[in-house]
Structures are given as structure tokens and as C-alpha cells.
């Protein structure tokens, strides 16, 4: 009986996390079109509903009623399962994300490792999608994407090693708690190079502009999902935006103090004490997400060899050097972060 209640309670918690997440994914697509629209002096979607607010729903309905075309000689089973393999890890990773103090589905010890493992599994969907489509463009997109994700995962992993050294724990809640103090004790300052590397690698991991060579509309049409249509295509997009939100959440947890108030330790702390932690968490995520959209509107696509050079010859050396620096700082008990 206890097990049953526990199971039902956990399922309810999962619903409470996933429903808002999927809603924010839908409205992130709307936000992206609006923000980029305004940045390019356009208006963006404004026809469906008041100010275009129903646009994501209209998009979804349109995609849901489109026919799913499976190419001849495609591997049917893998073709259909690939979008789910992209989406599932992106959602599964949310199990260990702490939304506020104690608000976490599974407060596991190796949370950071779990996140790394889940984000690294996401590449399989892309790989399988490209291969199962039996199409040259799709395969090209897949190969690009796989090489890119592998390269940037190393830099990302090293950036996380820095965080893990500074916090002395793999538990995400403990990492946030270790940053408490004030705006300046968050890890973005002592780990500034790692913060930048993580943020940029995160964009590369999610295949977003300016690192979107896996899709590369102007060269290989749409890369790995060129053969997909209807709901299967929609799932790829769902996964991309869910991954964006995930990377933003992770950046906030590891470098920007998670649910901690930015006014901690200042004279404004008492004035803002009534604000719940989750508000700060969501606010910080929104800022990071906005910067992702901003980047997409600002930069042209990187050339492929430049992406590889940036990942291997710039980011990995930076992270390696900074790990040593952090090691020295921890040994020296450098205040205010490591004392």
C-alpha cells in the first residue's frame, strides 16, 4: 500500500513538473519568433488569438493533423522511435533539478553525473533519425551533429568538473547551497571562464544557432530531420526547446545560484525575503533563454571546421587551465568562495 501511494505521489510530481515544462516549451517557440521578429524590425506572429498568443497551439494542431510520411527503404521502427529518443532524455534530466530549497523530485547524490549522462544520451535520437531516414542530407546532418556534440561534451564535462571541485559535491541542491552568500559568491565569478565555456557549449549541444550546422537550412536543407513530417517532426522541435530550457536551468543552478535571491547579503535582502525561491530560479532561466534567442538573432552560422577548432583548441585548453587554477584557489582557501 505504501509503495502504491509513493508511486502515485511520484507520478503526480512528474505531472506537476512536465505540464508547465511543455507549456513553456510551446510559449518559448512563440517568444523566439516574437523576439527575433522585433530584433529584425518585424512584428512576428500576431494573427492567431489576441497578439498571436494562440500561435503555438495553432502550430501544434496543424502539425498533429499532417500526414507522417515514412520514406521508402527507411528503417520504420528506428525512424519512428528516433524523435522519442531525443525527447525522453531531455525530460528525464528534470528529475534531479531542484526548483527551490527542497523542491526536487529525486535528490540523488550523483545528480551532476546523472545530468551529464542524460544529456549525452540525447545524441542517439539524432544519430538514429539521420541513419534510419535513408537519405543523404539526413546522414550528413547526423554526422555533423554527432561530431559536434561529442566535441562539446568534453568541454562541458570539464566545466562541470570545475563546479564539482568548487562545491565539493555532485548533488545539485548542495551545489546551489554552496553558492549562498551574495551575488558575488555565486560561481559565475570565480569560474567565469568555465561559465562562458559552459554557456557556449550548451548552445552547441542543443544544436542552436550559431552552431546549428546539423540543421543548416541553407546547405543541407534541414539536416537530420529532413525526412520527418507531422507529429514526429513536432517532437524534434519539442525536444530542442526542452533541451534549451534544461541547459538554461543547469547554467542557473551551477553558476548563477539557482533559487538564491540576488539581494542576499545586501540591505535589500529583508525587503525581498517574501519572494519564493522558485521565482528567482525561473527569472534567471528566462534571462539565459532570452540570451539564447538574442544570440540566434545576432550571429551568422559558424563554419563547420571553425566549430571544431573552437571546441577542441580553445575551450578544452581553457577549461583544463582553469581547473588547475581552481585547485590552487581551493588549496589556498581563497575567500570569499573557498574558505
Amino acid at each position: 500500500m505504501d509503495t502504491l501511494i509513493y508511486l502515485i505521489l511520484t507520478l503526480l510530481k512528474i505531472v506537476v513538473i512536465l505540464v508547465p515544462l511543455l507549456l513553456s516549451v510551446a510559449y518559448l517557440t512563440y517568444l523566439e519568433r516574437k523576439v527575433i521578429g522585433y530584433m529584425q524590425v518585424r512584428i512576428g506572429p500576431n494573427r492567431v488569438g489576441p497578439r498571436g498568443w494562440l500561435q503555438p497551439i495553432a502550430d501544434f494542431v496543424k502539425l498533429a493533423f499532417k500526414e507522417i510520411i515514412i520514406p521508402t527503404k527507411a528503417n520504420r521502427f528506428l525512424f519512428v522511435i528516433a524523435p522519442m529518443l531525443v525527447l525522453a532524455p531531455a525530460l528525464a534530466a528534470w528529475a534531479v533539478i531542484p526548483f527551490a530549497d527542497g523542491w526536487v523530485l529525486a535528490n540523488i547524490d550523483a545528480g551532476l553525473l546523472y545530468i551529464l549522462a542524460m544529456t549525452s544520451v540525447g545524441v542517439y535520437g539524432v544519430l538514429i533519425a539521420g541513419w534510419a531516414s535513408n537519405s543523404k542530407y539526413a546522414l550528413l546532418g547526423t554526422l555533423r551533429s554527432a561530431a559536434q556534440i561529442i566535441s562539446y561534451e568534453i568541454a562541458m564535462g570539464f566545466a562541470l568538473v570545475g563546479v564539482l571541485m568548487a562545491a565539493g559535491s555532485l548533488n545539485l541542491s548542495a551545489i546551489v547551497s554552496a553558492q549562498s552568500g551574495s551575488l558575488l559568491t555565486w560561481y559565475w565569478l570565480p569560474l567565469l571562464p568555465l561559465f562562458m565555456v559552459y554557456l557556449i557549449s550548451g548552445i552547441a549541444e542543443t544544436n542552436r544557432a550559431p552552431f546549428d550546422v546539423a540543421e543548416g537550412e541553407s546547405e543541407i536543407v534541414a539536416g537530420f530531420h529532413v525526412e520527418y513530417s507531422g507529429l514526429l517532426f513536432a517532437i524534434f522541435f519539442l525536444a530542442e526547446y526542452a533541451n534549451m530550457i534544461l541547459i538554461a536551468a543547469l547554467t542557473v543552478i551551477m553558476f548563477l545560484g539557482g533559487w538564491l535571491s540576488p539581494f542576499q547579503g545586501t540591505f535589500l535582502e529583508a525587503a525581498f525575503a517574501w519572494v519564493p525561491g522558485i521565482f528567482w530560479f525561473l527569472l534567471k532561466i528566462s534571462v539565459i533563454l532570452f540570451s539564447f534567442l538574442w544570440l540566434r538573432a545576432t550571429f551568422p552560422r559558424y563554419r563547420y571546421d571553425q566549430i571544431m577548432r573552437l571546441g577542441w583548441k580553445v575551450f578544452i585548453p581553457i577549461t583544463l587551465v582553469w581547473i588547475v587554477v581552481i585547485g590552487i584557489a581551493i588549496l589556498a582557501k581563497l575567500p570569499p568562495w573557498f574558505n
Binding site: 550523483a110 553525473l113 538514429i128 561529442i150
Partner: protein, 187 residues
């Protein structure tokens, strides 16, 4: 409950592992290997060895198998030609297999340690780290050195000097100034 989970994952593991060597398509075989890794990671999780389980997925599933698939997709192997030599190589392969089996029986058979009566408590990542860098530091360093040698060897084998191929030098590109490229004829 744990027993059911264990047997479920063991069955999946055995099924996936046997499919790896029986299935025709190499890409499918690689995917079954991924499934096998996942099942063994789950079994390790039941033993509360969460660090090993996560690292298995992270390293083998997330990196090694991706590169495997990468190569398999590009090679476009015709597996029928690979299978032709099956009978011819059978005696040698059977001999090697028997030797490996014998070795494993000898190693596992002499394993006298009793099963752990209690599972680890607390973070076994921290415990593993403190043992790895103190008690086992020499084996650890030697393993690292072997990997480094293998890496250098792989690079040395595949990298050929650029004789005639043209490639860009970013440091020179960055150093270019406007005056190098354009000349204003008339203001």
C-alpha cells in the same frame, strides 16, 4: 521488488548481448550493445554503485558507442562478405573463446570474497575518489599513461603531413588589417 527488477534487467541484458552477435545489420548490433550497457548500468544502480552506473552510461553509451555508430554509418559495411570466412576461422575463434572462458572461470572461481552484507551508504563517488587517489594511485597513473600512449599512437598513425593541401591558419586570419586587403583609390 528489487529481485523482480534485477531479473527483468538481467533478462534484457542477456537478450541484448546475444542479439549483438547474432543480428545481421551492424548498426542494429551497435544499438543492442547500447541497450546492454543500459541494462548493466541499471543492475549496478540496484547495487547502489551509482558512480559506476552513471560513468558507464556517460563514457560508453555517451561517447564510445556514438563514435562506433559514427564509423558504422559511414562505412556501409556489407555484412554478408564478412560472414563468408565464418567456417574457415571457426577453429581458431573457438580456441580463443575457450581460452578466455578458462581464464574467466579461473579468475571468478577463485573469488572467495563473500557477498557484501550491506550496501554502501553515503556518496560512493567521494569514497571511490579517496581510494583511487591514495591507495591505488600507481595503477591509476599507469592506466592513464597507457591511454596517453595509445592516443599518441593513434594520432601518429592517422596524421599525415600536409604537403599540398591548403588549410586556413586562424592566427594569420585574425592578424589581417584593413590596409592589407583594400586600397582606397579615391576619397
Amino acid at each position: 521488488m528489487i529481485k523482480i527488477t534485477f531479473y527483468l534487467f538481467s533478462l534484457i541484458l542477456i537478450f541484448a548481448a546475444s542479439r549483438v552477435i547474432t543480428i545481421k545489420n551492424p548498426v542494429h548490433a551497435a544499438l543492442f550493445l547500447v541497450l546492454a550497457f543500459f541494462s548493466s548500468a541499471a543492475i549496478w544502480l540496484i547495487l547502489q554503485a551509482e558512480f559506476l552506473a552513471m560513468v558507464l552510461i556517460l563514457v560508453y553509451v555517451g561517447a564510445v558507442m556514438v563514435l562506433f555508430l559514427f564509423v558504422l554509418m559511414m562505412l556501409n559495411v556489407n555484412f554478408d562478405t564478412l560472414r563468408e570466412g565464418f567456417v574457415r576461422h571457426l577453429p581458431l575463434a573457438a580456441f580463443v573463446g575457450a581460452v578466455i572462458l578458462l581464464e574467466m572461470v579461473l579468475v571468478v572461481g577463485t573469488w572467495h570474497h563473500a557477498l557484501p552484507t550491506e550496501v554502501a551508504t553515503g556518496s560512493n563517488t567521494a569514497a571511490l575518489g579517496s581510494v583511487l587517489y591514495t591507495e591505488y594511485v600507481y595503477p591509476f597513473e599507469i592506466a592513464a599513461a597507457i591511454l596517453l600512449v595509445a592516443m599518441i599512437a593513434a594520432i601518429a598513425l592517422t596524421m599525415r603531413p600536409h604537403t599540398r593541401s591548403k588549410y586556413q591558419k586562424p592566427e594569420q586570419q585574425v592578424r589581417v588589417r584593413r590596409e592589407d586587403r583594400i586600397r582606397i583609390i579615391k576619397d
